[in-house]
């Protein structure tokens, strides 16, 4: 066969098309694979993955994004915080916040050095600290003994001497995706807190508390710091995902719609079955007796 210039042109065109499409196929494949494996969420909730603001001394005062902003408590409160700490906390946690009581007893309490302002703020503002019975297996939630400013002051002083993360989160639920929040809640929270957020018993006298009346910022603090037996959620939840969960808890969990009329506390099939049997069947039985009596 005679090879003409047309043959050569065609062959080169074909080779070019095959070559370009092969390269772009792999390039597209590689591009598609890169995104989900990025590790940008490493240590979410810390300054590593967000916009950071520093003061004149170089101390980080704020970081975060449009979903959650993490703020350092104002340093002007530190002196006030030290006095409050010595008065309300030091009897157990010690004047050095290292968990050795000031009275010299051998009891060992949690060290607060480097736990970060969010953890301290959570424990005080949820009323768990100061504890009714220090050393109990689980501190109970109660009306807070200290005000918001007092909690910030204690966090400010402890953090100024033994700095740590996480700073105090402020959640902006605007633009939150409630359906993502529901899925994330079912995946990460419902195992212990139940799908209705009513809380449930756990091992060895511990329990997961109800989420019905928890303010948004305390939910974010708990997720990021893992108080007590609750796991910490850091790299496995981005700030936007925490925002979605907080928004879902603030709406569907704390203001449930209950299309059936009564929520019955969201306690599940035992409570609902009890009501159905005792009230429903009881009423039916009374109606049956009444009809039988009349005939």
């Amino acid at each position: 066969m005679k090879i003409s210039p047309r043959h050569i042109t065609r062959t080169l065109t074909l080779a070019g098309v095959i070559g370009i499409s092969t390269v772009s196929f792999f390039a597209l494949g590689a591009g598609a694979k890169d995104a989900p494996y990025a590790t940008s969420r490493a240590n979410a909730g810390t300054p590593n993955s967000s916009v950071v603001v520093r003061d004149a001394n170089g101390t980080i005062t704020s970081y975060g994004n449009s979903a959650i902003t993490y703020n350092l408590p104002p340093s002007s409160l530190e002196a006030f915080g030290e006095a409050l700490f010595m008065q309300s906390c030091a009897s157990c946690h010690g004047s050095e916040a290292n968990g050795h009581p000031t009275d010299g007893s051998t009891e060992q309490y949690p060290s607060l050095q480097g736990v970060g302002p969010a953890a301290i703020d959570f424990w005080i503002e949820s009323g768990r600290m100061p504890a009714v019975q220090p050393g109990n297996v689980q501190a109970i939630r109660k009306a807070p003994r200290l005000t918001h400013t007092q909690a910030l002051a204690i966090a400010a002083w402890v953090n100024s001497k033994w700095p740590g993360l996480t700073l105090i989160p402020s959640v902006n639920t605007k633009g939150a995706n409630l359906s993502d929040g529901a899925a994330l809640f079912a995946l990460n929270c419902a195992a212990c807190h139940t799908i209705e957020g009513a809380g449930d018993a756990l091992a060895s006298g511990t329990y997961a508390p109800s989420l019905r009346h928890i303010p948004a910022n305390q939910i974010a603090e708990a997720i990021r710091t893992g108080p007590g037996n609750m796991p910490r959620f850091t790299g496995n939840l981005s700030d936007a995902q925490v925002r979605d969960i907080v928004a879902f808890v603030g709406t569907s969990i704390q203001h449930p719609q209950n299309p059936g009329g009564f929520g019955l506390g969201g306690l599940g099939p035992v409570g609902e079955g009890f009501v159905a049997l005792s009230l429903g069947v009881g009423l039916l039985a009374l109606a049956g007796f009444w009809v039988g009596d009349r005939l």
Binding site: A191, S204, T206, P259, G261
Partner: protein
């Protein structure tokens, strides 16, 4: 209460017998009331239809449907009780049994004559019996077949293999920097997170219990890199997802029957009905910092079964 009458047959009652009169003293008035009930029922059922059409709230559907039927029912009962003849009436039915003579004649026809006719065809009777016998044996086959194929060794394996990347539920690979101490995430073999197996036997919990390599049992020295340990999420009791992690007590709790597994000690059950520890997945951290499996689980995951060694 109404006075009781002796039951009589309807045909024997004269036209102005009190038993033919309705119970109501003023039937016109009662009829009006019943009519009101029926109209109310009709209107409520129409409302139900309308509510259903516009997809209204469930309680509106239930209320209109239920109350509508209730009004119709009360009206119907009132009609029967107050406007119908009071009765009571009885109607004797005729005797059902045939006469003795008929029965004797039938017996004679079947047993004495018909019996002989049937017995004449021994070959056919035998073949019919044989056919029915074969049929009844083959009828057992679907029962045996429908028990399904033998599971083979599928119960012993999961999709975790040497080098499999661990991904979270969204398919994102888990990196060694992702979790801090006290964090937990459910992981799946990469690419299997949406499959039936991935949603069942492959589920594994990844917990970071320390910042340095962690050994949960003798012989598992390399299984806990950078403090990460991975256990099957299937309870060894009945296969519930063991997703309740208590980071201070270092316990994994099963929500179904409260079995508790010691995370720091090879997930040995220290409370509850679970008979065996949760199998631990050997993992390693690759050069880029991703969590990957060293191999499959070394034993079958989930609840026990007959051939489990």
């Amino acid at each position: 209460m109404t006075e009781h009458h002796t039951p009589v047959t309807l045909s024997s009652v004269s036209e102005n017998d009190p038993r033919l009169q309705p119970l109501a003293k003023n039937p016109q008035d009662v009829e009006r009331r019943i009519a009101v009930l029926f109209v109310a029922g009709m209107v409520l059922e129409a409302c139900f239809g309308w509510a259903y059409w516009i997809n209204a709230q469930p309680w509106i559907l239930g209320f209109t449907f239920g109350m509508g039927l209730t009004f119709l029912g009360i009206g119907l009962i009132a009609w029967g009780k107050y406007l119908m003849p009071q009765g009571p009436f009885v109607e004797e039915r005729h005797v059902l049994a045939n006469s003795a003579a008929d029965r004797d004649a039938f017996t004679a026809a079947i047993v004495d004559r018909g019996g002989g006719v049937i017995k004449r065809r021994k070959l056919l009777a035998g073949l019919l019996g044989g056919g029915l016998g074969v049929f009844s044996i083959t009828a057992l086959f679907p029962l045996i077949r429908s028990l399904g194929p033998l599971p083979g060794t599928t119960l012993q394996h999961t999709d975790w293999k040497k080098g499999t990347f661990a991904v979270d539920v969204t398919g994102r690979r888990v990196h060694v920097d992702d979790l801090t101490v006290g964090s937990i995430v459910t992981i799946f073999p990469e690419g299997k997170e949406e499959t039936d197996n991935g949603q069942a036997v492959d589920q594994t919990v990844l917990i970071r219990i320390s910042n340095s390599n962690f050994t949960t049992q003798k012989g598992r020295e390399t299984w806990g890199p950078s403090g990460y340990v991975a256990y099957s999420k299937l309870c060894t009791h009945l296969g519930c997802p063991v997703g309740l992690y208590e980071q201070k007590l270092q316990l994994l709790v099963c929500p179904c029957h409260q079995s508790m597994f010691d995370v720091t000690n090879g997930a040995i059950p220290n409370f509850g009905p679970a008979p065996r520890p949760l199998p631990q997945l050997p993992i390693y951290v690759d050069a880029k910092g991703f969590i990957r499996a060293q191999s499959d689980f070394h034993e079958a995951v989930g609840p026990g079964f007959w051939e489990r060694s």
